[in-house]
Amino acid sequence: MSTSSASMKLRESPAFKIALSLSIATGLYGVSFGALAVASGFDFWQTMVLSLLLFSGGSQFAFIGVVAGGGSGVAAMTASALLGLRNGIYGMQINAMLRPGGWKRYVSAHVTIDESTATASGQSDPDEQRRGFWTAGIGIFILWNIFTAIGALAGDAMGDPKQWGLDGAAVAAFLALLWPRLKGREPWAIAAACALATILAVPFVPSGVPILVAAVVAGVIGWFSHARMDEGLEPDVDPYAEKHQREHGGKK
């Protein structure tokens, strides 16, 4: 390409377009988080603080999921923190990729999530990586919070959450977060082992603790197995899935 990519107009940037559509798709399901949180007994501002300050979908769902199941606040906090560990790895990757300096580092840390990391790491040009990361990060932050608020207000007006199947929605949400990570035999084996450990632990320990038992099982498996190193660590979205399909499909 002869033109400098730095001068490329934003609307011509592939990373910008992908990040924008991902922001809308991800932001929209903030509705389900808001509604579920209220149905689980959180008030409006507790729900909003989770979206504004915790800002990591999996950890947010984990926190409210543990509380909804009767678990303690400390169990909810632990599950949420453990599930957020991968964001630390994403932070390392984004830092190596974009090298943000000064105050930007503190802002970029907050928007380091599955989606922004996936958008950036799918690009090879540094300017495109930067555009992808910031557009997805900030776009999702804004929309996720707006739609959380809408969900929380709607959930409040809905009455009995069970009548609307909101407890079923939570089950579906966790499965949907897990699903994209089950690529290959080892992830399935880990998921099965942890599911079994959870079921065996439920009758014997207080609510919320079975999830931590599963975390220990997963940690032990991770310590002793030396298979592919990035399993489960690929962000739970692939913004370039269609492109990949086209490229690989064309060769077959």
């Binding site: 399901y29 507790q46 989770l50 300050l53 999996g58 950890s59 999921g65 543990v66 199941g69 606040g73 909810a76 906090m77 599950a79 949420s80 453990l82 599930l83 957020g84 991968r86 964001n87 790895i89 932070g91 990757q93 984004i94 830092n95 580092r105 840390a109 907050h110 609307w164 199947g165 407890d167 079923g168 929605a169 939570a170 579906a172 499965l175 949907a176 990570r181 089950l182 880990i190 998921a191 942890c194 599911a195 959870t198 079921i199 439920v202 009758p203 014997f204 320990v205 079975p210 999830i211 038992v213 599963a214 997963a218 498996i221 991770g222 310590w223 197995s225 030396h226 298979a227 990035d230």
Partner: protein, 103 residues
């Protein structure tokens, strides 16, 4: 009020976890064991959360409308439905089974 405390601690830990990634030496990225554990733990926790929300009721295990939600969500995911559609399928299945008088 107690819940507020744990919410705020969880928020602080979530941010610090992200931030730590920006300050540790890049060499850590080359440690396969740490990377691998972060990955297995994500899978394990999500699998556990799915099961707990599907069959646990306090310290008991029950089969109710939530199993229908689990099956509906799995079918939707298998058909490559987007996240929001999967969540709505789960809710609809559970609500429908309750209307039909189960769980």
């Amino acid at each position: 009020m107690n819940l507020w405390l744990w919410i705020l601690i969880a928020c602080a830990l979530a941010y610090l976890t992200k931030l730590v990634g920006y300050f540790v030496p890049a060499k850590l990225l080359e440690n396969p064991r740490i990377m691998h554990i972060a990955g297995t733990m994500t899978i394990g926790l999500l699998a556990s959360l799915t099961v707990v929300n599907a069959v646990a009721s306090g310290q008991g295990l029950v089969l109710d409308a939530r199993i229908g939600a689990l099956v509906a969500a799995a079918v939707a995911l298998w058909l490559r439905a987007p996240f929001l559609v999967v969540v709505i399928s789960g809710a609809a299945a559970a609500a429908l089974l309750r209307v039909l008088g189960w769980g």
